[in-house]
Symmetry: C3
Subunit: 282 residues, 3 copies
């Protein structure tokens, strides 16, 4: 076993040359920010270039939180000043489209909250399995006056159809395991006690297969199912433009005053709280 990247935020462990695990470990909330981008990028680049890896599983070491929204305490320039990635897209959407295209099977194992970037990373991965009792998925952004930026408008309708995608995005509400399974937001919701064993067995199984057969089959699915990068780029632009608008700034300020970015009820029940911000001047 070996590790790369900063072990404090995103830990990579190679269970075998073919089967890697990535664990988000940025307590207390697994918030994703500009300083985490290079750590994730290092892993995506390894997936693209390693000759042996066949399957990667993403999970979390933080109780209650798989991976969360972007860091609104970081300076916006720390994100907007980053150079574009290899695809020409800004770095976060760039990494996500590269993950979708990597010749490796990516699986997310969702226990706790996958909100914002957490949901977007799940959607960019190949398969999603969730704890029936403990997973919460959401795109909370519209509730805070924001436009999501990491691809969900392009990816959600292709997974669950336009109607359910619009509900996820425009209700901005928390989606629990059962509903996520019904909607196809995840492949399956499993009893929490079975999730780890199920995902591990699937990953071990895939790791025993031929890498070329995996990569070619996935590539042919990509042709049929991936959105073009030209549909991803405007999401990021709309997201960045939305952040600086008064409607979003006022809502984010109120959320911060109520406990956003800190352990507690606002982060635990973000769907509820974005519904309590009102529509008038805040």
């Amino acid at each position: 076993m070996s590790e790369i990247a900063n072990p404090k935020r995103i830990r990579l462990v190679r269970r075998s040359p073919a089967y890697w695990r990535v664990t988000f470990d940025h307590p207390p909330l697994n918030i994703f920010g500009p300083e985490t981008i290079p750590q994730l990028n290092e892993i995506i680049t390894a997936l693209e270039t390693d000759e042996n890896v066949k399957v990667i599983v993403f999970d979390s070491a933080v109780e209650g939180f798989f991976l969360m929204h972007y860091d609104f305490l970081a300076k916006l320039e720390d994100t907007t000043n980053l150079p574009p990635g290899p695809t020409g897209l800004p770095q976060l959407p760039d990494m996500l489209v590269r993950l979708s295209r990597a010749p490796v099977v990516s699986i997310v194992s969702i226990r706790g909250r996958a909100t914002g970037v957490g949901s977007e990373l799940a959607l960019a991965s190949d398969m999603r399995f969730a704890s029936r009792e403990r997973a919460i998925l959401s795109q909370w952004e519209v509730g805070a006056g924001l436009v999501p930026g990491g691809g969900p408008m392009a990816r959600l309708p292709r997974l669950m159809g336009r109607g359910r995608a619009l509900e996820v995005l425009l209700s901005a509400d928390d989606i629990r395991g059962d509903l996520a399974e019904l909607y196809g937001y995840v492949n399956r919701a499993l009893p929490d006690s079975e999730l780890d064993e199920f995902v591990d067995a699937l990953a071990v199984r895939i790791a025993s297969f031929d890498k070329q057969a995996i990569a070619e089959t996935k590539h042919l699915v990509n042709i049929a199912s991936l959105p073009p990068d030209t549909d991803i780029a405007p999401e990021w632009e709309a997201c960045m433009a939305s952040i600086v608008r008064p409607a979003a700034q006022a809502r984010l300020k109120t959320l911060m005053e109520r406990g956003f970015h800190k352990p507690g009820d606002v982060e635990n029940r973000l769907g509820y709280h974005v519904g309590q911000l009102g529509s008038g001047p805040l």
Copy 2:
């Protein structure tokens, strides 16, 4: 609160500047015909131009019928002589594609039968919620020798996949709440006693969000999920051509003799009755 349009057929009530309700109220069957088109058009135009509206809910005031098939007692010329709408499409499909693109969230709350135009309006809306016990959705047209004309061949496969879409269209049968949910014909089927409260709470929630964030997010979903207008136009043409063919005329005549367009068993169980028309000369 204010009202526009003819209150006898389609009633618009503004619960607030941001949250509008439209109620189909054309007893006894909520049949949709050429005289109803201008009433619906007035509402769609208001949705496109009003600066405050964020969400609109469609429901019915007629027991047992959400919104039904087209009026076959009206003269065909009353429909075919209507000038095209702003998109260049004929008026009914024109209104439906404009509803899908309007910068406002449209939600249908289906209690009773949504057949033909009723199903097509539901499919053109952003989200669909149905009474588990009392909703019936259907595209009955093929059962009467007709081709549906308001977009379902383009919209259903994008919601539920080709196989289930072909079943809905080519079985021409009634689809009840549970199956509609399984197939993704509706977002969710809810217990009848919970439907109104659920839809109202969702609409109130969305009405509290920022209109620009809603509109931009929906626009990006549109890119990923709406059929092109060029796929809608041939449906209307095929529908109009089918109506005048002997196969449809004979079936419609038999249905009329059995009680079509009148309250009673034919309209209540239209799926059953189109299966009883036989295949030979009628």
Copy 3:
């Protein structure tokens, strides 16, 4: 009633001029090979040209097996030397895309295992119904170092979304009735005791409708939902290339030694057995 083609492998029975049944009857395993291609082609051609047929149902007369993988005991040249079909595609994918486009409703009634070609024929058909207790669907190929060749990478994501399609293809595992229904791999899974009656009633119903209304409605669904032939062609090429690679040859050899192509546990539980081949040199 009349019959065409070799009755030993694929039997065609015309229940009526409008309603045809095709039964796969190649015991003990319903394996599909180059010698079966002309028999299926004859049926597809009849579907394209007959003026009366409206609906065709595919089922199996072989206990436990609906239709299986390709025949690996046949010489590869018997397949690769076949001239292309009318679409310009090689014969097997050619027949499947022609089945999808035929102006006739195709329904598969799956009892027993639909693996490889069996799954691909099901996916190319218009509707799929499965025995809840006795149907097993799978694309087993990646588990044997192969790339599937009959269209599933193009068709599965359009039916069930990218995530579940990737799971079906890259897990290469057996999918039973309940999961197949949840994923949309089949329209519905029905209790085994109800399957035959349900499918027959649906076929009889559709056979009573107008052929032109059926054909035009299906054609418009095709526009919205069929993959282009240019997405099908590379699957076949990748499949043929994969067969001769050492990774596949070694896995197929091991499977053969364990009982592949013979009645018994390997064919009965193919999903399990492809997971037991290991990843190292075999």
